[in-house]
C-alpha cells in the first residue's frame, strides 16, 4: 500500500462511519438536537432574565460542547468492537493511526461541527451580548477538535476495559477543564472589551499538539482493547 491508497482508506472509513450514522436516522441529528435541546432548556430552567442568561451563556454553550462530545463517545468504537471490525482494523495493513485519525475526524464532524455551526444561534437564544459571538465561535472552532481527540482516546481505552471506563472519564475531565477555562476566559475578555488573542493562540497551539499526539494514543489503546 502506498500513500495514496492510505488516504483513500481514510476517506473510505470516514465515508463509512458517516453513512452508518446517516442510515441510523436517529444518529445523524443527534448532537445537533442535543445542543438545541439543552440551549432551549436552559432559559426555561434558569428563568428568562437577560442579564443572568447573558452572563452564563458562553459557559453553558461550552459545557454543552463537552457533554455532546462525551455523549458521542460510546458510539465511537463500541459498534466496531462488538461486530469485530476493530479486530480487522488491527490486522489491516494500513497504519492504525490513520484509522484512528479517521475516527476522530468523524466524531468531530458529527458532534463538534454542528455545535460550531449552531453556536451563533445558541448565543442568540441564550442572549449572549453581540460582542462575544465571534470569540465564542472561534473558541469552539479551535476547541471542539481537541475534545474529539481526547474523547477518542478515552473511548478507545474504555471500549473493552469496560471496568476502567468511569475512571477514564474521570481522567479525561482534568484535560477538559483547562480547555473550558481558557475558552470561557476568552469570551469573558471580549465581553469586557479586552483582546482575547492570547487565549485563542493558546487554544490553537494546544490543538495542534493534541491532534498530532492523539492518533498515536488511540491506536495504542485500540491494540490493548482488542485482545
Amino acid at each position: 500500500m502506498n500513500k495514496a491508497s492510505y488516504s483513500s482508506l481514510v476517506w473510505a472509513l470516514m465515508r463509512r462511519d458517516l453513512s452508518v450514522a446517516m442510515r441510523r436516522k436517529s444518529d445523524s441529528i443527534n448532537p445537533l438536537l442535543f445542543v438545541l435541546m439543552v440551549v432551549t432548556l436552559f432559559p426555561i430552567a434558569v428563568g428568562p432574565s437577560h442579564e443572568v442568561l447573558g452572563r452564563i451563556a458562553a459557559g453553558v454553550i461550552w459545557v454543552v460542547a463537552l457533554l455532546a462530545s462525551l455523549l458521542g463517545s460510546e458510539r465511537l468504537f463500541r459498534d466496531d468492537y462488538v461486530d469485530g471490525t476493530l479486530e480487522q482494523m488491527v490486522l489491516s495493513p494500513a497504519p492504525l493511526e490513520l484509522l484512528a485519525l479517521a475516527k476522530i475526524a468523524v466524531h468531530w464532524l458529527l458532534s463538534g461541527l454542528p455545535l460550531v455551526i449552531l453556536s451563533p444561534f445558541c448565543a442568540l437564544l441564550l442572549k449572549l451580548p453581540l460582542d462575544g459571538w465571534l470569540t465564542l465561535v472561534l473558541t469552539l472552532l479551535l476547541g471542539t477538535p481537541m475534545l474529539s481527540a481526547m474523547t477518542a482516546i478515552g473511548a478507545a481505552l474504555t471500549v473493552s476495559l469496560g471496568r476502567g471506563g468511569a475512571l477514564l472519564s474521570l481522567l479525561l475531565l482534568p484535560l477538559f477543564i483547562p480547555l473550558l477555562i481558557f475558552a470561557t476566559a476568552a469570551v469573558e475578555s471580549t465581553l469586557l472589551g479586552m483582546p482575547a488573542i492570547g487565549q485563542l493562540m493558546f487554544l490553537a497551539g494546544f490543538m495542534v499538539l493534541t491532534l498530532t499526539l492523539a492518533p498515536v494514543a488511540v491506536a495504542a489503546a485500540i491494540k490493548v482493547s482488542v485482545n
Binding site: 436516522k25 432559559p43 426555561i44 428563568g47 428568562p48
Partner: protein, 250 residues
C-alpha cells in the same frame, strides 16, 4: 392464541370515497375562509386599544385552536390504530401530523409577531408558548417516528403510542394560562357565556375558525389519499390509478 390476519384493508374504497369528498371540502373551505378573512381583515372595526394590529387574531386563534383539535383527532386515530389495527387509521396519523405541525407553526409565528407590539417581546418562556412549542415538537416526533422504521406498520404503531402519550400536553396548553401567571390572555372567546368581544369582531372570527376547520379537513383528506397510494403502491389498483392520472399523461 387466535390471530386473524385479514387480507389487505380496503384502501381502494377509502381512496375513492375521500376522492369524492375532496372537491366539496376544498370548495367550501376556500369560500368560507375567503369570507372570514376578508371580513375580519378589511371590514371588522379596529380595536379601541390595539388598533389594527389585533387583526392577526383572525389567523392566530383559528390556527392555535385547530392545532390542538387536529392533535386530538390524531390521538383518536392512534387509539383506533392500536386497538383495532385499522390501517386507514394508521395512515391518518401520517396524514394529520404534518398539517397539525404547520398549524402549530403558524400559531407560534403569528403569536410571536403579535407579542412584539403587545408585550414588547417576540418570545418568552411563558407557559402557554412553551407548551405550544412542545406541541410542535410532538407533531415532529410523531412524524419522525412514523417514518423512522423500515416497516411502515411498525412505524405507525410506534407513532401511535407516542401520539397517545403526548395527549397530556393538550390540557396543559389550554389551562396553562390559569395554572401559571401567563403573559398570554385567558379564554376570551371560548367562554361562551359572556364573550369579552363585540360581535362585529367575534362573528368574523368564528367564520375564520370554521374556514380553517374546513381547510384543515381538506388538507388531511388530500394527504391521506397520498399516503394510501404510497402504502399500497404494490397493489394493482394503484398502478391503475397512477397510469390513468392526468399527471402521467402530459
Amino acid at each position: 392464541m387466535w390471530r386473524w390476519l385479514h387480507p389487505y384493508a380496503k384502501g381502494q374504497a377509502t381512496y375513492q370515497l375521500l376522492g369524492r369528498w375532496l372537491p366539496w371540502l376544498t370548495g367550501s373551505a376556500l369560500l368560507v375562509l375567503a369570507v372570514g378573512l376578508v371580513w375580519g381583515l378589511l371590514f371588522a372595526p379596529p380595536d379601541y386599544q390595539q388598533g389594527d394590529s389585533y387583526r392577526i387574531i383572525f389567523i392566530h386563534v383559528p390556527s392555535a385552536m385547530l392545532s390542538m383539535g387536529t392533535y386530538t383527532a390524531m390521538a383518536i386515530a392512534a387509539l383506533v390504530a392500536l386497538v383495532w389495527q385499522i390501517r386507514t387509521a394508521e395512515w391518518s396519523i401520517a396524514a394529520i401530523a404534518p398539517v397539525g405541525a404547520v398549524l402549530t407553526f403558524i400559531s407560534l409565528i403569528t403569536g410571536a409577531a403579535w407579542g412584539k407590539p403587545m408585550w414588547g417581546t417576540w418570545w418568552e418562556w411563558d407557559a402557554r408558548m412553551t407548551s405550544q412549542l412542545i406541541l410542535l415538537f410532538l407533531y415532529l416526533g410523531v412524524l419522525a417516528l412514523y417514518h423512522a422504521f423500515n416497516d411502515s406498520r411498525t412505524g405507525a404503531k410506534a407513532a401511535s403510542i407516542l401520539a397517545l402519550v403526548g395527549v397530556v400536553n393538550i390540557p396543559i396548553i389550554h389551562f396553562s394560562v390559569y395554572w401559571w401567571n401567563s403573559l398570554h390572555q385567558g379564554a376570551t372567546i371560548t367562554k361562551f357565556a359572556k364573550p369579552s368581544m363585540p360581535p362585529e369582531m367575534y362573528i368574523p372570527l368564528f367564520v375564520c375558525i370554521f374556514g380553517f376547520m374546513l381547510m384543515t379537513a381538506a388538507f388531511i383528506t388530500q394527504r391521506l389519499r397520498h399516503e394510501i397510494l404510497r402504502q399500497e403502491l404494490h397493489r394493482p389498483w394503484v398502478q391503475q390509478v397512477l397510469l390513468n392520472s392526468p399527471v402521467k399523461e402530459q
